[in-house]
């Protein structure tokens, strides 16, 4: 790198040569300006800030990521064949470097009351459909990377289900990063809105062709109406040199149910913020996660569950396997408001350490302001138990295979929670492959 490394987000914010998306929409312009101001105001947070206490932004800033501008048009279906899961029957949406790519997508027939489209396209054709929804869940005041995403709004997936609409097959979003010859950041913004009683399954897969250095800064806004059900699997397998950021903002109305399974395997530096807020009673939120962190990998999870109303339940179950010099952070926070009686919340984080050089910072917190609640949290950091290893070895199984089997057994609970057999199998294989080459010191 020539000259001094960047020390700010200026490279992220340079104006787009062909103009901003949705230019001329006053409300969007206002949102963008507000986001820009927030980014400038926040500067680069240091490790004294609670949200960045365990994770330095230095490495990320130094890359000097610039916004993706060019659309990739040359890719054919053959080129991405290795990334597809043939047995997974889905409504497939492919995005390349943050841009919705219809030629690689296969939406198929969608039932009545279901709209699946690109954010850019919808801003052009029916911006009013997005007016209340864009930043409707993430809110006006945004954390740094959500604000960066808003300021640099580009494209994304929009899924809108009308009242009572039921989608049988999952929507599968494949977010592909490819051929970036200089450090670029793609900033997809996904908006998923389920009206009362609607039901859908969403699968997101973040993948790459090649091992290039890039950044994905994605934001998801999920809104569930009364009685709505969303099942949501997220699989992050970015390039080994990539930076990955997710901000997931979830809002749940009465009796709605959300089940999210987060699998984090790839990337060099990955940060995930899961922020959920209940707005109606008797809603259920189930967040599960599995992460692997090996040499040169950081997996950083921040979970924020806001029990603002009574009688909702939340589960946060995260498991990590760390090896080599892998690092992970689990910072989970459940806040129960004063009026939120009958809240049922349980948070757990378990870590399996395969090497002495791996490191995890885990901090589950409960902040309870109501007196009639059922809340628990637990965290473990342990190693493979010698008696389990001996049991397998005494049956003729080599020590490396025995270790792998025990790791897979540990991961099984979360992989099992995925919402498709084909996906379970694909993830299982990928986890197995990574463990096979995992250094144990």
């Amino acid at each position: 790198m020539n000259g001094a490394a960047p020390t700010s987000f200026d490279t992220w914010l340079a104006a787009r040569a062909d103009g901003e998306v949705g230019a001329g929409l006053d409300w969007l312009e206002a949102q963008r300006r507000s986001a820009l101001d927030q980014v400038r105001e926040q500067g680069v947070p240091g490790t004294k800030q609670e949200a960045w206490r365990y994770t330095s932004l230095k490495r990320l800033i130094e890359q000097g990521f610039a916004r993706v501008e060019d659309e990739v048009t040359a890719l054919q279906l053959d080129d991405i064949e290795e990334l597809l899961i043939p047995e997974l029957e889905s409504h497939r949406v492919v995005m390349v470097n943050g841009r919705y790519t219809p030629s690689l997508s296969a939406l198929g027939d969608l039932p009545r009351g279901v709209r699946v489209t690109g954010l850019r396209a919808l801003l052009a054709s029916d911006p009013d459909a997005l007016r209340e929804r864009l930043n409707g869940v993430a809110g006006e005041s945004q954390p740094l990377f959500a604000a960066l995403n808003t300021a640099g709004l580009d494209d994304g997936l929009v899924v809108l289900l009308d009242r009572g609409a039921i989608l049988e097959r999952p929507i599968e979003l494949i977010h592909l990063s490819v051929g970036m010859d200089e450090p670029r950041v793609a900033q997809p913004r996904h908006v998923v809105s389920l009206a009362d009683g609607a039901q859908a399954t969403l699968i997101e897969r973040y993948v790459s062709l090649g091992e290039s250095l890039y950044c994905t800064n994605s934001v998801l806004e999920l809104s569930l109406g009364r009685d709505a059900v969303l099942k949501h699997d997220r699989i992050q397998i970015e390039s080994p040199n990539a930076f990955h950021i997710t901000g997931l903002y979830l809002s749940q109305d009465a009796n709605s149910r959300y089940v999210g399974v987060n699998i984090g395997l790839g990337g060099a530096w990955a940060r995930t913020d899961l922020v959920t807020r209940f707005s109606g009673e008797h809603a259920e939120c189930d967040l599960q996660g599995l992460y692997l962190a090996g040499d040169r990998q950081l997996m950083d999870y921040h979970i924020d569950v806001d029990h603002a109303v009574p009688a909702c339940s939340s589960r946060e179950t995260f498991k990590g396997i760390l090896y080599g010099k892998g690092r992970a952070v689990f910072d989970g926070r459940v806040v129960v408001a004063k009026d939120a009686q009958k809240t049922d919340a349980a948070m757990s984080n378990k870590n399996l350490m395969l090497s002495e050089n791996a490191e995890v910072d885990t901090k589950p917190q409960l902040e309870i302001n109501a007196d009639d609640v059922k809340c628990s949290h637990g965290t473990t950091v342990g190693q493979i138990e010698p008696e389990k290893l001996f049991y397998l070895r005494s049956r003729g199984i080599s020590a490396p295979l025995a270790r792998r089997m025990l790791c897979m057994g540990f991961a099984e609970e979360i992989i099992d929670a995925l919402h498709s057999d084909a996906l379970r199998e694909a993830v299982s294989e990928e986890v197995g492959r990574r463990l096979e080459t995992a250094p144990l010191t």
């Binding site: 001996f390 005494s394 049956r395 003729g396 199984i397 089997m405 025990l406 057994g409 099984e412």
Partner: protein, 251 residues
């Protein structure tokens, strides 16, 4: 087949085995009995290669090989099998997958081809039939949430599948009611053959009503202080261990 000579082993600073001698020939069943703390489990563990034991003297030779120099999996490849007193629960590890990994690891080590899924399932079915077990335990995680009886049956099932030359049954009868005991003993008896030797470690004579041993040894304070035929077990049942210990001390 198995020759143990002057075996001494300690855990930390405590010497548990103090000069143990034992010869087991092909097809023989030897019962090792003894009071609590006599070193029965330590002996089983040292034979199978569990960590945490330091052998300070003596030798263990199995079919001409120095067993103590081998890793646990290498002992299994030679045909040594330990039925655990407390089978370990492995949540998330599917029992069928585990059995297949074990069998194919052993086959591979012996230069045999690995079994494919179909041949493996056929073999499993056959073994289940011999032991009169149903296949429900195959779908579950290894020993996870199994009852005491189910765990012990799963041990015997593994033994049936892996066809060891030397099986060490470490207090297989502990924690079993009489019906479960009979099922397990029937399984063991079904696996008896002229090439397969067994060491049955037990505190009580009860198990030997069902599994008839060729030799009975009394282990006390880390070594074998008396050996005899199966009538020795009956004598122990009647009189307890005290009289032997007294005789030993007097001698």
């Amino acid at each position: 087949m198995l020759s143990v000579k002057g075996l001494r082993a300690k855990v930390g600073e405590n010497e548990i085995l103090t000069g143990l001698d034992l010869e087991v020939g092909p097809g023989e069943i030897h019962a090792i009995m003894g009071p609590n703390g006599s070193g029965k489990s330590t002996f089983s563990h040292v034979l199978s290669g569990r960590e945490g034991y330091e052998v300070t003297a003596g030798s263990v030779t199995f079919e001409g090989q120095d067993l103590l120099a081998l890793e646990p999996e290498e002992r299994a490849h030679l045909g040594v099998f330990l039925a655990f007193q407390y089978p370990v629960e492995l949540p998330g590890v599917n029992n069928t997958y585990f059995l297949k990994a074990a069998l194919n690891s052993i086959r591979k080590a012996r230069g045999e081809s690995e079994l494919d899924a179909v041949s493996f399932l056929r073999l499993i079915k056959e073994k289940l039939k011999i032991l009169h077990l149903n296949d429900s335990l195959l779908k579950r995680a290894v020993n996870a949430g199994f009852s005491g009886g189910e765990k012990k049956r799963n041990e015997i099932f593994q033994m049936a599948l892996l066809e060891p030359k030397l099986a060490i049954l470490d207090e297989t009868d502990s924690g079993l009611d009489i019906d479960a005991l009979r099922v397990v003993a029937d399984g063991v008896n079904a696996l008896r053959n002229p090439e397969r030797s067994m060491i049955v470690v037990t505190h009580y004579q009860r198990l030997l009503d069902y599994i008839e041993p060729d030799r009975v040894h009394v282990l006390a304070k880390g070594r074998i202080i008396r050996s005899g035929g199966k009538e020795l077990a009956l004598e122990l049942e009647e009189k307890g261990y005290g009289w032997i210990l007294e005789q030993e001390q007097a001698a």
